[in-house]
């Protein structure tokens, strides 16, 4: 999937609760005692985030493994 296709796919999600579009923002993530800021799409109103499938299965999985092996 190209970046463009991915962006289009991701932009189709909106917050069902607040009815607003998701926007990119800095969110804290945490694993194995380490905290990092990460840019994720989220609802500005209620803070609900969106983690795309690809992100969970690739980059996040890789970082999880690296932190677990530390």
């Amino acid at each position: 999937m190209s970046d463009k296709q991915r962006n289009e796919k991701d932009s189709q999600w909106s917050c069902a609760e607040c009815g607003v579009e998701l926007t990119l923002g800095s969110v804290e993530v945490q694993y194995m005692g380490s905290r990092y800021p990460a840019d994720l799409l989220r609802c500005e109103k209620c803070g609900q985030v969106y983690v795309p499938e690809e992100l969970a299965n690739t980059k996040m999985a890789l970082i999880e493994k690296l932190l677990e092996d530390k």
């Binding site: 069902a16 993530v29 803070g47």
Partner: protein, 797 residues
């Protein structure tokens, strides 16, 4: 003669190894792996020329590289490649299958087909210590060369007018004179002092030399004169230490033919003696022990094992022209016959050991290093967690080294250190806890009995695979056996044991033991070899019998009404049955009773392979587990029959039609193709809890309430989504909980294009994302995925 390496004790307590493992323990364990032991050619060579590497280089046409290998060890290569007495060839493993490799001829070819190179020797800075070398033959010259390299001043006393001793007596056809001159050039280049025509006892005495020299090396050949005055004392009183070559005179060493007598002419041993004497003299001059750590000098017996099974006979490549030796093409052909001796017995039969591209000795070092890391990346975690712990390595290892024990021990240490990656085994541990929870576990005497002489323990995976088979088996047992057969549904604790979770393991075992004692300590009938193996180890006082032995003894069920005589299968023994020959035999008897013809797989019985589940391999290294399954199912085109539910599940997961032995016993000889799907833990869990309900209803007339409120959420999954989710180890229960949370809280995303919802919720240590749509009270799941990383979100709730 140097002794071979001392064997490490086999009784070495592995349990304490890593926990407080020091370098000595590590070395003992590493030394059990013989892969790095020298091949026979190298060990039997007094100076350990690396003949295997030589053959590898020549086989690849790399003659200059081959020459380099020779020059590294042999000080006089142009001589030795012509006149060596070749102990290497006598010991060559190829000798048993077609004839030993012509190593000496290959050495000659290596030199013939590579440019002449002068020996490049840069002596160390000069040290104090003058050494008299008496005798300018191979042994004396080698010692002079070695001592000069070390920075000592060596003076050669030669009785004749030239160096080389008896080398000049070879005919030119055996040893061209220019080869001698070529090799001896180095003596001149290094300006080693030589006094020609100076003969011991005639021209000088040992005592004379001892005034000027701090050490003396006697390399005078086989004392052809038998001169009693040679040593200034009676020859019968002259002795030479076999390790240091020190004579019984301070500072005097002796080697070469004088040590061995005239009958054993061996140029290569003369060179070896010169090297060994030089080592002793160096140590003597430095005032350190001349005998310590001298193992494996000179020829020794290697501990290496190399299987020659299945290797085709190949005769020596004969030389078209023996006078000139091998031309390049013949040399390459001859070198290609080399077996490249190594052990790798375990690596040959174990996908896990092969996949990390090493062998136990390397792995043990990596594991030790991994456990010692205080800060930094632990690259060995996967190596430690991928082993199936099945013990096949130990069965094939000439030294009984069990990598599974090493890995399990390492896992326990990692857990104790708090360094076990949480994702490695968590799913399996939770699955075990589910099996041992209220929803699946069950303990009952046989209906109508208040005690149990026997108790049936089907194990968690058999119930998870086929509740039907458990039900029928229990019915069979209660009908065939007297005195009451109780029932115990739970997990034996193997997942916790394999995960190195001593806490969870002892918890599971203690609960099981209490249950068992509460029933009056009946004999336990196991249907799963892993349970059998584990219970025997964990509760030694427990009397155990395999279900297969019971069925073999009491006969297969009658009136099943299915003719199985047309069924032809290949039998797979589970790895945990490896050391249970009686059980394996009982299974074969049952197949005979059923009239089924079964084929034996190449690795069977004691040498059977794991299906990719053992040691929780499939959770820690899914790719490897898939490869293991693939390899195993390719051994035979026939359908498989297994007597472990996991093995059957694993084979089915890659499309191999596989029966459980109970399927056949109870008359199932056709398997639905729909069974050929990825292992699905949701189904396994559902079946386990169904089993409890079903058995309670059928045998004890009890009904069971529903356990979970999320049971109410009705799911619909297409077969593709079902497989995807099963593969991602996401349970239906997880899906239901996420959807339930989203529907109740309203926290979800919505897709503008298709109206799907996407919700996430953290359950335990995992955050699950579920994409779904709703059709009245049915939730259609379109996708699901998960991560362990926590998102610290939603500050504005």
């Amino acid at each position: 003669m140097a002794s071979a390496w001392a064997l490490p004790p086999k009784s070495l307590k592995l349990s304490r190894l890593f926990f407080q493992m020091d370098q000595t323990d590590l070395r003992e364990l590493e030394a059990r792996c013989i892969q790095e032991c020298a091949p026979w050619c190298e060990a039997s060579c007094p100076i350990h020329v690396e003949a295997k590497s030589l053959c590898v280089a020549i086989a690849a046409g790399k003659f200059a590289e081959a020459a380099k290998i020779i020059r590294k060890t042999i000080p006089f290569p142009y001589i030795i490649s012509n006149v060596c007495d070749r102990p290497c060839e006598d010991s060559c493993k190829r000798g048993q299958i077609g004839g030993a490799i012509s190593i000496r001829a290959l050495e000659k070819a290596a030199l013939d087909f590579s440019p002449f190179e002068k020996a490049k020797i840069r002596p160390l800075p000069a040290r104090s210590g003058r050494v008299a070398i008496i005798g300018g033959g191979l042994s004396g010259l080698t010692a002079a060369l070695e001592l000069t390299k070390k920075g000592y001043k060596a003076v050669i006393f030669e009785a004749s007018e030239r160096l080389g001793g008896r080398l000049w007596s070879y005919p030119d056809s055996s040893l061209p004179k220019e080869n001698i001159e070529r090799d001896f050039q180095v003596i001149q280049d290094l300006a080693i002092a030589i006094e020609f025509n100076r003969s011991l006892s005639t021209d000088f005495s040992l005592n004379d030399l001892r005034c000027d020299f701090q050490a003396i090396y006697l390399a005078i050949g086989a004392n052809p004169m038998g001169d009693p005055n040679l040593f200034d004392f009676s020859p019968s009183g002259f002795s030479i230490d076999p390790i240091s070559f020190g004579a019984n005179m301070d500072g005097v060493f002796a080697g070469g033919s004088i040590r061995r007598g005239d009958l054993v002419h061996s140029p290569i041993t003369s060179i070896s003696d010169g090297k060994r004497a030089a080592t002793s003299i160096d140590r003597f001059l430095q005032g350190v022990s001349v005998t310590a750590s001298r193992e494996n000098e000179g020829p020794y017996n290697t501990r290496l094992f190399t299987s020659i099974e299945g290797i085709e006979l190949a005769a020596r490549v004969s030389m078209k022209n023996p006078a000139t030796g091998y031309p390049q093409d013949e040399a390459i052909k001859e070198a290609s016959r080399c077996l490249r001796c190594e052990c790798l017995e375990c690596v040959k039969v174990c996908e896990y050991l092969a996949t990390f591209k090493g062998y136990p000795k390397k792995y043990i070092r990596q594991i030790y290093n991994n456990l010692s890391i205080v800060m930094g990346q632990r690259h060995g975690n996967k190596l430690i967690n991928s082993c199936s712990l099945c013990g096949l390595c130990k069965e094939v290892c000439p030294e009984d080294l069990h990598m599974g024990e090493v890995c399990k021990n390492a896992r326990e240490t990692m857990v104790e250190q708090g360094k076990m990656p949480p994702s490695a085994h968590e799913f399996a541990i939770l699955d075990m806890e589910f099996s041992n929870g209220e929803e699946c576990s069950l303990l009952r005497h046989q209906p109508g009995y208040d005690k149990s002489k026997l108790v049936f323990f089907p194990g968690c995976r058999l119930g998870g695979a086929s509740p039907h088979n458990v039900e029928k088996t229990y019915e069979y047992l209660t009908q065939r056996l007297n005195d009451g057969v109780g029932l115990m549904l739970r997990c034996c604790g193997a997942p916790a044991d394999w995960a190195g979770r001593k806490d969870k393991y002892s918890e599971a075992i203690e609960a099981l033991r209490d249950n068992w004692i509460g029933m009056g300590s009946p004999t336990v009938i196991t249907a799963c070899s892993s349970c059998h193996l584990l219970l025997r180890k964990a509760i030694p006082e427990m009397s155990l019998v395999s279900l297969w032995e019971i069925i073999d003894t009491h006969g297969i069920p009658e009136n099943v009404g299915v003719d199985l005589t047309d069924v032809a299968v290949a039998l797979h023994d589970p790895c945990s049955s490896r050391n249970e020959p009686e059980v394996q035999e009982a299974v074969r008897n049952i197949l005979r009773q059923l009239g089924i013809s079964s084929e034996e797989l190449p690795l069977n019985r004691r040498f059977t392979e794991c299906c990719g589940y053992g040691g929780l391999m499939c959770f820690a290294n899914r790719e490897l587990s898939a490869n293991v399954i693939r390899t195993r199912i390719e051994y035979s085109a026939k359908d498989y029959v297994a007597y472990c539910a996991v093995c059957q599940d694993h084979f089915l997961s890659q499309g191999k039609k596989s029966f459980h032995l109970l399927d056949l016993i109870f008359g199932v000889k056709e398997l639905d193709d729909s069974l050929k799907r990825p292992v699905n833990y949701s189904l396994i869990r559902d079946r386990r809890s169904f089993l409890k309900k079903r058995l309670l209803e059928k045998f004890w007339g009890e009904t069971v309430r529903a356990f979970d409120e999320s049971e109410d959420v009705k799911l619909h999954l297409s077969p593709e989504v079902r497989d995807l989710i099963a593969d991602r180890l996401i349970l239906d229960d997880d899906l239901k909980k996420v959807i339930q949370y989203a529907e109740e809280s309203g926290r979800k995303l919505v897709n503008k294009a298709n109206g799907h919802f996407l919700a996430h919720h953290t359950l335990g240590n995992v955050t699950f994302w579920v994409e779904y749509s709703r059709d009245e009270d049915v939730f259609a799941v379109h996708n699901a995925y998960s991560h362990r990383m926590q998102i610290l979100e939603e500050p504005k709730r």
